[in-house]
């Protein structure tokens, strides 16, 4: 338990949260809503679907699942580094 610094842990944790939520905002509100028209016209199509449309109906949801997996992985690693991991 020697690395047990609540403050450092909390700051690192906030960094992870902010980074992941920026991606979250970018894929959903960014790609699928705000920049959709531009992406539909200029980005390569996914299969035969316009990129923005595909992001709105499929891509964003896939990204959300990946985000949660990354979150669980990063946070568990951070907890281990600070000695917060619990015995199973």
């Amino acid at each position: 338990m020697e690395n047990n610094h609540p403050r450092a842990h909390r700051r690192a944790c906030l960094r992870i949260v902010i980074a992941l939520l920026s991606i979250w905002f970018f894929v959903s509100f960014g790609c699928a809503i705000l920049f959709r028209d531009w992406l539909d016209a200029n980005a390569p199509q996914v299969g035969s679907a316009p990129f923005g449309f595909w992001m709105a109906q499929q891509g964003a949801i896939i990204c959300f699942v990946l985000l949660l997996i990354v979150y669980a992985f990063l946070m568990n690693r951070l907890d281990a580094k600070h000695g917060y991991t619990e015995a199973k």
């Binding site: 939520l21 679907a49 949660l68």
Partner: protein, 607 residues
């Protein structure tokens, strides 16, 4: 063997499984009743949460909404899954660490105030109650179709089954039945989609079919979505991939749905059933994965169903329509009014008329002449069922159908085998029952734990508390069943749609600041909650019920999306008020510090 026999067999088997599980894992203590003893595995909890989260409305109506509004429906797809990301990253790990069994518990302790706890209890009961009414209605409708009984009898059957395992089994009974219900739902949703994808696009995976080519016709092969856009514009609808909503509205509605999701009490409590904070994170991954299975399939089902519907019905003489059309006419979910008298069904969108409307008849819903009316008022020249509504002759559209039938009619339209339809029926019932059970539990614990034990009678013993919870769930179910049988006018029906806006403007900011700010105090939180929710309610009531006109919308935002603005107001007021009032007591500040340390979460139900 007929369709009815198969339906009976599938639903009978699924019920036998649910009840068997409920009896085997019924709760014996308050701990098991509220949080299933805190030892549910992440995988099982993930499935149970997914089943809890997906209501009958999601299961039945979502694909239909996608089919009708195309891109615009993405707000629901992203709103409900994206909200889950917020919930996992910002809320549940900390609330789980805090270690109390309910959401009002956290608000009451964090803001050291019985008033705040009371407000939270009322919000939780209101949100859950509006939700559960819809579920009971859904169960009733499915049962009445299945067995040819009235909706009231269907609601009562559904209510007694839910009471049996939710009221008696508590969280433990519910969790394991929900696991079984998720499996039924997932199969029921994906199997028809796979069959249809193969038939229409030659792909086994529906999601690939959606972005693939349309191969079911003899004409030159075109991309599936292009085919859909062509159909839509030809018939006078907006392009499927473009949508009609403004960017501003899409943004606000999606944001309100996301933040509302992150404030829903019945989803949050599910995470109190796992062992520790690490297990919460893992369990959330499983949950979203299981939800995504269904949410990624919905757009494919919607798109396939739309093409199928138009190909099968548009410009088809009534005498040649498939048999299922008459069945849906009989249940009042589809209707045809032969405006031009040519005996063929025509289906057109708003762009085909000068007034921009596509209504088939006057009034919102079809109504029919009574059974004692003369035959020429009930049955038309071509054998169709006649409506009592007057035809709306301002546009050429002749086909009316409810959103709900897209999922139900899809297997019929694609000509799938009978057992697929029976499976779908079982899936619908599983979706409604699992959500109703989860909501019922939150309702009963809100009453027995937060209201009775924490506010009215602090000296309740464990055993008395569980008895109160059982009694409360019984009472709540009776109220819900009553409103399921007699839906209380359009008011509640509309309010359900806005429940997310209300949750976004009340619970979400208060929980979030409570977790991440040490400085936020009682005064700020209460002022924020009240101003956020009253602004949102006021806006909704003004435009929905007091005849406010669309020209007066604030920045063009519809009432559906106003919860997002209400949320910003809540944040603003909270910080402003707390800046001018004293900081919270030291022990509360220590508590906030403590919930950020992930270890030592202990049992969720230690009081």
């Amino acid at each position: 063997m007929t369709q009815d026999h198969l339906n009976f067999i599938f639903i009978g088997i699924s019920f036998a499984i649910y009840i068997g599980i409920a009896v085997k894992s019924r709760a014996a203590s308050t701990k098991e009743y509220y949080t299933a003893g805190g030892g549910v595995s992440s995988f099982a909890n993930g499935m149970a949460t997914a089943a809890d989260w997906m209501s009958a409305a999601t299961f039945i109506s979502m694909a239909g909404t996608v089919a009708i509004s195309g891109y615009d429906a993405s707000r629901f797809l992203m709103g409900w899954t994206g909200g889950f990301v917020l919930l996992t990253i910002l809320m549940v790990p900390y609330l789980r660490k805090f270690g109390k069994a309910t959401v009002p518990d956290f608000i009451g302790d964090r803001y050291y105030s019985k008033l705040a706890r009371g407000v939270a209890v009322v919000c939780a009961i209101f949100i859950c109650m509006t939700y559960i009414m819809g579920q009971m209605r859904g169960v009733g409708v499915v049962f009445s179709q299945l067995f040819g009984i009235g909706v009231p009898a269907g609601v009562l059957i559904g209510a007694s089954i839910v009471f049996f395992y939710a009221g008696l089994g508590g969280m433990k009974g519910i969790t394991y039945t929900q696991v079984a219900q998720y499996c039924v739902m997932a199969f029921a949703y994906t199997i028809p989609a796979i069959f249809i994808a193969i038939a229409m696009t030659g792909h086994v995976i529906p999601q690939l079919g959606l972005i693939g080519d349309f191969t079911a016709s003899s004409e030159p092969v075109v991309p599936f979505l292009q085919k859909l856009n062509n159909i839509n514009t030809e018939l006078g609808f907006a392009e499927y991939t473009s949508g009609k909503l403004s960017t501003m509205n899409m943004f606000c509605i999606t944001a309100a749905l996301m933040c509302g999701t992150a404030g829903l009490p019945h989803v949050i409590v599910r995470f109190f059933t796992v062992k520790n904070v690490a297990a919460v994170r893992k369990s959330a991954c499983w949950t979203l994965l299981f939800i995504a299975v269904i949410y990624l399939t919905a757009p494919a089902i919607g798109a396939f169903a739309r093409v199928n519907l138009v190909e099968k019905l548009h410009n088809t003489p009534y005498s040649e329509v498939p048999g299922w059309f008459q069945e849906f006419e009989l249940t009042g979910q589809m209707a045809w009014v032969d405006k031009n008298g040519d005996g063929k069904i025509q289906y057109f969108g708003p762009a085909k008329s000068e007034l921009g409307s596509a209504s088939v008849f006057q009034g919102a819903k079809p109504s029919y002449p009574g059974y004692d009316a003369p035959e020429n008022q009930r049955i038309g020249r071509h054998g169709e069922r006649l409506l009592a509504n007057k035809a709306d002759d301002s546009n050429p559209n002749e086909l009316w159908f409810g959103n709900d039938i897209m999922v139900m009619a899809n297997p019929h339209m694609a000509g799938l085998p009978m057992w697929v339809i029976a499976l779908l029926m079982a899936g619908c019932i599983a979706a409604a029952l699992s959500t109703a059970a989860g909501l019922l539990l939150v309702l009963s614990t809100s009453i027995s734990h937060d209201l009775m034990k924490k506010i009215i009678k602090p000296d309740l013993t464990d055993e008395e508390e569980v008895n109160y919870a059982r009694f409360a769930s019984f009472a709540a179910l009776i109220v819900a069943a009553y409103f399921g049988i007699n839906p209380p006018s359009a008011f509640i029906a509309k309010t359900v749609a806005f429940a997310f806006g209300l949750a976004a403007s009340s619970f979400f900011p208060t929980l979030l600041i409570g977790i991440f700010s040490k400085r936020m105090n009682r005064e700020g939180a209460i002022a924020g909650m009240l101003s956020g929710i009253s602004f949102t309610i006021g806006y909704i009531v003004y435009f929905q019920f007091l005849g406010g006109h669309a020209d007066q919308y604030f920045l063009g935002i519809t009432p559906e999306g106003i919860g997002f603005v209400g949320m910003l107001i809540n944040f603003g007021v909270s910080f402003l008020v707390s800046a001018f009032t004293p900081a919270p007591p030291q022990e509360v500040q220590d508590m906030v510090e403590n919930i950020h340390i992930p270890s030592g979460a202990g049992d969720a139900s230690e009081h």
